[in-house]
């Protein structure tokens, strides 16, 4: 009988009535035992029953939740299957454009029809079960039980920890530390932080909160605590190490409108890739951008060229790989621009359109300021600014006076918005009505002059790319009309002088006119609806503080406004960064170390591992160990890391699978949507007496209440109807936020079937009573689909024009051109400029460290994100370690063989780090590649003396014994290059940063390779 069932199922015959009648014995078995038992009788049919295989969404007892991933920041959808309280499987969300190569299923598809649909998500996401259930997770709050940095911890009761953090005091008296530790309450004062420099703000700024992998909603939740409730300006992100370099160039190009701009992977015919690891690490990620590029390239619809010191995985389908010298993206781009101008291949019609109206008339959604006149007379009070009509005639009405000025074809001046076309490459001396002569040049002329400072041979030399190859790429790039664009990312500018490397890369798109066009260079379209306003005001509250003073990082603040400047002039003690996108965690840490411009009192880190993740982060070990520089350090995290081993308290947090509510808007390019992240399973951390999970939110709420800060507790959230609502638990904030999105996007109410789906599967449903029935049903419509994805790709365009585009881009950036270098006191160039990687004190790294023959570049792998993915067990099986990757000819010259043990040493770290050499043809000669995910000393890699460790770690006795955490050698493999990165001896030996934007350096460190 069993055999007959086998033959039915094995033949693939459906068990329809006819089949059963034919094979009556089998039918009999089914009728007798029921289909489940009949199936159980044939184990091979489900061999996984023997092997603990994952139940699927269709198995009994499975709960399915559509949410958003956070294995990296790409923001893809996930379909999570939870069975018996355990996350068993992540796959994609078929409603989400990022899981469906920009073309998802119709948004109104009933959710029941989607459960059998295939939908892809990358390997990082699929390792989610090992992340959330990781045995090394800390689930109880810890307080250090030895000297700072001794690595000794003991559990502390939640309530006690809240009291200690809120009130401070002699918290470590029992360890022999007599000092009084400041509490949050002590910083709740308007006393100046430095009475002789009032511009620095109040003592509130003494709280420094740095968020690592923070996203929308959780970020604002911490803002609510740090900025609004306490009033510290120091809630700092980590954009700098995320890749602020290319963002700086885009920011200059877009005049701050967007920092992420990319080639359209669905519409482009040619993509020129600068420093973007598009097959491993881009945002949108592996299952989106990469998948689209690969699929379209296989169909012959798209070609791409990689400009990078490493060939990257994308070399597999690339038209060409151009092995670039590290730090020379700008040289390559300026070489291409030189060729384009010399060969008259730029889109002059587009560049000559001086206004939005004029550009629109010729089919463009965007215009440039290429034809706008810039005052180049240094003595003019408005020098380096755009010439305005009022500069020529102060008597014109205000609205006319503000207009930019262009030269018409017949050499007359005109307001930019009054002509269809203007002179592009021109200069003139104009006379104002007062008779003053004003020397002006067009933006294009200024840009061109900067490019012409060097010829193609120079650019070939700087970039290390043969002249013929630069020409070939330039010709290719200009051969697709506007269906070509650049995709630049982390690598294109993540080094000192990176702003001037990535600006010319962005400029390439303006030259061919592909900005804001289908198939061109586009920003993201934004979210589907606001989450922090609408039905509930989550932006602010009564009694919210106003911020004063510069952040510790000195970002977005001019040195010239300080007392220090008035006293000392140039140079400043450390650089200031008025022209920065911000999020400078590196300079915040360095500011903390140097107590500049003022000292830090309390440091809170969230999901942030600077010692490991910052190039040169090892320097901060001495900062964090120092209780004068960091009087109180609280880490909110899921595990013990290389950084929070120096913490005073460790607050256990949730992973993105049990918490991290969020509203995830798209990355560039093009799309407009809001993914909604809610928990897919119940929290695994401990709980407070009233049942809330230990987490960032619970911590901040409880500290705020204990310290008497506003904005938390009862009556903290104002409804549209004027009613006040409490903020005592995370959901009080986030579920109302979801309701804002659902109402703002005008979603329909979910069907009863979908309401049931949400209520039976989604943990957040148990809080539904805080919403009205109508609000909840609307929320269910969004939750059942994992967000609001109500636009098709085509809906983002008006013919070829991007509807949510930049509108205008800058060939000359007035703000940058008017900003001064706080070290030299000189103006920065407002347009392109060739600058090799140079320290703020003017040292060119390639020259000062020329005795160190190799330049190191790091990169992200497809199965890793940052420090945390060492917890991804399956990924670590696929790639158990990393290597010191070296060109085979370099290795041969040194007599090195594959897998030889070596160490790499830099001037800043002569002890160096060890690793194994891997020979490759996929890296430029003279370069070394090291992926950025290995060489851990914590995250389970070392023993940590934690009292009652079996109760502190999620894995209990599997990872802990009476001496604490048991080390796992699988977590300690490989090499972390950040421990060798060059430091800047001119600035207290802290990590090198770029003087314009505060870009940390990932590409300029030179090393020696020493055989062990």
């Amino acid at each position: 009988m069993r055999k007959e069932i086998l033959s039915i199922i094995g033949s693939g015959v459906s068990l329809t009535r006819r089949a059963f009648i034919k094979v009556s014995a089998a039918a009999g078995a089914v009728l007798l035992f029921g289909v489940e038992k009949a199936k159980a009788a044939v184990k091979w049919l489900n061999p996984r029953a023997v092997q603990n295989a994952a139940p699927t969404q269709l198995d009994k007892g499975s709960k399915t939740v559509y949410s958003v991933c956070l294995a990296c920041n790409a923001r893809c959808g996930i379909r999570s299957v939870v069975n018996n309280g355990k996350l068993v499987k992540n796959s994609g969300n078929p409603y989400h454009p990022y899981n469906e190569r920009f073309e998802p299923i119709p948004y109104n598809t009933p959710v029941k029809d989607t459960l059998k649909m295939s939908s892809a998500v990358c390997g990082k996401s699929q390792d989610g079960p090992n992340y959330v259930h990781n045995p090394y997770r800390v689930i109880k709050p810890l307080k250090r039980s030895g000297a700072r940095g001794s690595g000794k911890f003991e559990p502390i009761e939640w309530e006690q920890m809240i009291k200690e953090v809120a009130h401070g005091g002699k918290l470590f008296n029992h360890l022999g530390e007599d000092r009084v530790v400041p509490g949050v309450k002590d910083l709740n004062s308007d006393d100046p932080i430095n009475p002789s420099a009032p511009e620095l703000g109040s003592v509130r700024n003494g709280l420094v909160f740095i968020g690592g992998r923070d996203q929308n909603a959780r970020k604002e939740f911490s803002d609510r605590f740090v900025k609004l409730a306490l009033g510290s300006v120091n809630r700092i992100g980590h954009t700098d190490i995320c890749g602020i370099g290319f963002r700086q160039g885009n920011m200059a190009f877009t005049e701050r409108k967007a920092v992420e701009v990319k080639a359209d992977p669905l519409g482009a015919e040619y993509i020129l890739v600068f420093g973007a690891n598009i097959y491993e690490a881009l945002q949108p990620g592996v299952n989106t951008y990469e998948a689209l590029v690969a699929k379209r390239s296989s169909e012959g619809k798209l070609k791409y060229t990689i400009v990078d010191p490493r060939a990257t995985n994308a070399s597999t389908h690339a038209e060409d790989w151009i092995p670039l010298k590290p730090g020379q993206d700008g040289a390559m781009a300026m070489g291409i621009i030189r060729w384009i101008i010399d060969n008259d291949r730029h889109n002059k019609e587009f560049l000559s359109a001086p206004s939005s109206k004029a550009a629109s008339a010729i089919g463009h959604a965007c215009y440039t300021n290429a034809s706008h006149l810039v005052i180049v007379d240094d003595k003019h009070p408005n020098a380096r600014k755009f010439l305005r009509m009022s500069d020529l005639d102060p008597s014109v009405p205000k609205e006319v006076g503000a207009a930019y000025v262009v030269l018409t074809k017949d050499n007359k001046v005109s307001a930019f918005d009054k002509v269809d076309s203007a002179q592009l490459d021109a200069e003139a001396v104009l006379k104002s009505t007062a008779g003053t002569e004003i020397k002006v040049k067009t933006s294009f002329r200024l840009m061109k002059e900067a490019v012409m400072e060097h010829n193609l041979d120079d650019y070939a030399k700087f970039s290390g790319v043969e002249k013929a190859k630069i020409e070939k790429v330039a010709r290719e790039f200009t051969s697709y009309g506007t269906k070509a664009a650049v995709t630049q990312y982390h690598g294109a500018g993540n080094y000192i002088s990176g702003t001037y490397a990535s600006y010319p890369v962005a400029m390439l798109n303006a030259l061919i006119g592909s900005v804001d066009r289908k198939g061109g260079y586009m920003k993201a379209g934004g979210g589907a609806a606001a989450w922090n306003s609408g039905l509930y005001d989550l932006k602010t509250f009564e009694g919210a503080r106003k911020l004063q003073g510069p952040p510790l990082s000195r970002e977005k603040f001019a040195y010239e406004k300080t007392t220090e400047f008035k006293k000392n002039g140039y140079p400043s003690k450390r650089p200031w960064f008025p022209f920065s996108h911000g999020g400078l965690c590196v300079e915040t840490m360095s500011g903390m170390d140097q107590q500049y411009p003022y000292p830090c009192k309390i440091f809170m880190s969230y999901f942030f591992n600077p010692v490991y993740s910052i190039p040169g982060g090892y320097r901060y070990i001495e900062t964090l160990k120092n209780t004068e520089k960091v009087p109180l350090y609280i880490s909110i995290d899921i595990a013990i890391s290389e950084t929070n081993i120096y913490a005073d308290y460790i607050v256990p947090d949730l992973t993105y699978l049990e918490g991290h509510y969020g509203f995830l808007t798209p990355h560039a390019p093009a799309l407009k949507f809001t993914g909604i992240r809610t928990p897919v399973m119940e929290p695994l951390t401990g709980k407070t007496a009233d049942g809330r999970p230990f987490s960032e939110e619970t911590f901040l709420i409880d500290v705020a209440k204990e310290a008497g800060l506003p904005g938390f507790g009862d009556n903290a959230i104002k409804g549209k109807d004027g009613k006040l609502h409490p903020l005592n638990k995370a959901e009080d904030f986030y579920l109302r936020a979801i309701s804002n999105v659902a109402a703002g996007a005008k979603l329909p109410e979910a069907s009863q079937e979908e309401v049931d789906f949400v209520e039976q599967n989604y943990p957040v449903a148990k809080h539904k009573d805080m919403l009205t029935e109508k609000e909840w049903r609307q929320v269910c419509y969004a939750l059942a689909r994992g967000g609001v994805f109500d636009r098709r790709y085509e809906d983002h365009f008006d013919a070829e024009k991007h509807k949510f585009g930049l509108g205008r881009v800058a060939i000359y950036n007035e703000e940058l051109g008017r900003t001064k270098n706080s070290i030299t006191g000189e103006y920065f160039s407002g347009t392109l400029k060739y600058v090799p990687p140079t320290t703020p004190k003017g040292k060119v790294m390639a020259e000062v460290d020329k005795d160190y023959p190799f330049t190191v570049i790091t990169y992200k792998m497809n199965l890793h994100a940052q420090a945390r993915t060492v917890l991804h067990k399956w990924s670590m099986e696929v790639f158990p370690t990393n290597y010191i990757e070296m060109h085979e000819s370099d290795a041969k010259n040194m007599g090195l063989k594959n897998m030889d043990e070596v160490k790499i040493v830099s001037k800043s770290n002569p002890k160096g780090v060890k690793g194994k050499v891997k020979l490759t043809k996929l890296i430029r000669q003279g370069c070394i590649g090291v992926s950025n995910h290995y060489g851990h000393t914590q995250m389970g890699a070392s023993r940590v003396a934690v009292r009652n460790a079996e109760k502190v770690f999620l894995g209990g006795k599997t990872v802990a014994d009476s001496k604490g955490l048991i080390p796992n050698s699988r977590h300690a493999t490989g090499t972390q290059f950040n421990y060798v990165t060059r430091l800047d001896e001119d600035f207290a030996n802290t990590p090198m940063v770029d003087v314009v934007g505060g870009i940390p350096d990932f590409s300029s460190t030179r090393v020696k390779v020493v055989k062990i």
């Binding site: 033959s7 094995g10 033949s11 693939g12 015959v13 459906s14 068990l15 329809t16 009535r17 089949a19 059963f20 089914v30 289909v35 184990k43 091979w44 049919l45 489900n46 061999p47 023997v50 092997q51 295989a53 994952a54 269709l58 994609g92 899981n99 469906e100 073309e103 059998k116 295939s118 892809a120 998500v121 990358c122 390997g123 699929q126 491993e280 592996v286 299952n287 990469e290 998948a291 690969a294 699929k295 390239s297 995985n313 070399s315 597999t316 389908h317 690339a318 790989w321 092995p323 497809n862 399956w874 990924s875 099986e877 696929v878 060109h887 085979e888 490759t920 043809k921 996929l922 000669q925």
Partner: protein, 230 residues
């Protein structure tokens, strides 16, 4: 949405087991559906494979294979001379051979091929002799030491996620392949892009010199001299 061979509805329409149909057996009346024999196959287009490893992790997640062992892997190969060098990726797994050499190698007849093309193991019969492991010319089989001495679970390899197929789901690796490098379906009733690919004349079998007919075939990487690790 494209109408690829990995059409989500493929299995809803042609479910291997219509479980609901079985349960309602007593009440369904009318003409019975025609029985249709399925034969599963996979085509892997190396012009689409990005080496992302998503299929490898999906397989791990679905099949809980022994630590450091995989039912599918992605082999990478450096091809060409610098600077015209590139990497080429080739996903590999059990090829579900037409005449599988592993089958006769088992003295207990514990492993055999189903009419639908999938080579499976009878877990009641397998005692972990391991004779089939070296018999596989592709190295697709391995002993799962966790189950030594127990019934079942002694030798593991890819089975196209037969348990998922039974539920009307795609194999985990196919679902995870965002660039659609893995095309999967029923050769007797192919649909969408899978059907288009079946017609291609440039399909190759792995280790072609062995002249084994396999259920997995490849489109070589056209930019690579070697085409892949084939």
């Amino acid at each position: 949405m494209d109408q690829s061979g990995n059409d989500r509805r493929l299995f809803m329409k042609n479910g291997l087991i219509a479980a609901a149909g079985v349960i309602t057996l007593g009440t369904v009346s009318g003409a019975a559906e025609a029985a249709k024999t399925k034969k599963y196959a996979m085509i892997i287009d190396l012009n689409r494979c990005t080496g992302c490893q998503s299929c490898v992790i999906a397989c791990k997640a679905q099949n809980d294979t022994l630590i450091d062992h995989f039912n599918t892997k992605v082999v990478s190969l450096e091809d060409g001379n610098y600077p015209s060098s590139r990497v080429v990726y080739t996903p590999v797994q059990c090829n579900q051979c037409e005449n599988p050499p592993c089958v006769p190698a088992c003295p207990l007849k514990a492993t055999f091929k189903l009419a639908n093309g999938i080579v499976v193991t009878d877990w009641d019969k397998c005692v972990g002799l391991g004779a089939c492991v070296p018999a596989c010319p592709y190295g697709a089989r391995f002993l799962d030491t966790r189950h030594k001495g127990q019934v079942g679970g002694k030798v593991d390899k890819c089975d196209f996620c037969v348990n998922r197929l039974e539920q009307g789901l795609m194999p985990a690796c196919v679902e995870a392949c965002a660039s659609k490098a893995r095309l999967f379906g029923d050769v007797n009733a192919p649909e969408g892009e899978f059907a288009e690919y079946l017609k291609r004349t440039d399909l190759v079998t792995p280790k072609a010199h062995l002249k084994i007919k396999t259920s997995i075939r490849y489109v070589p990487n056209r930019r690579s001299k070697k085409g892949g690790s084939l």
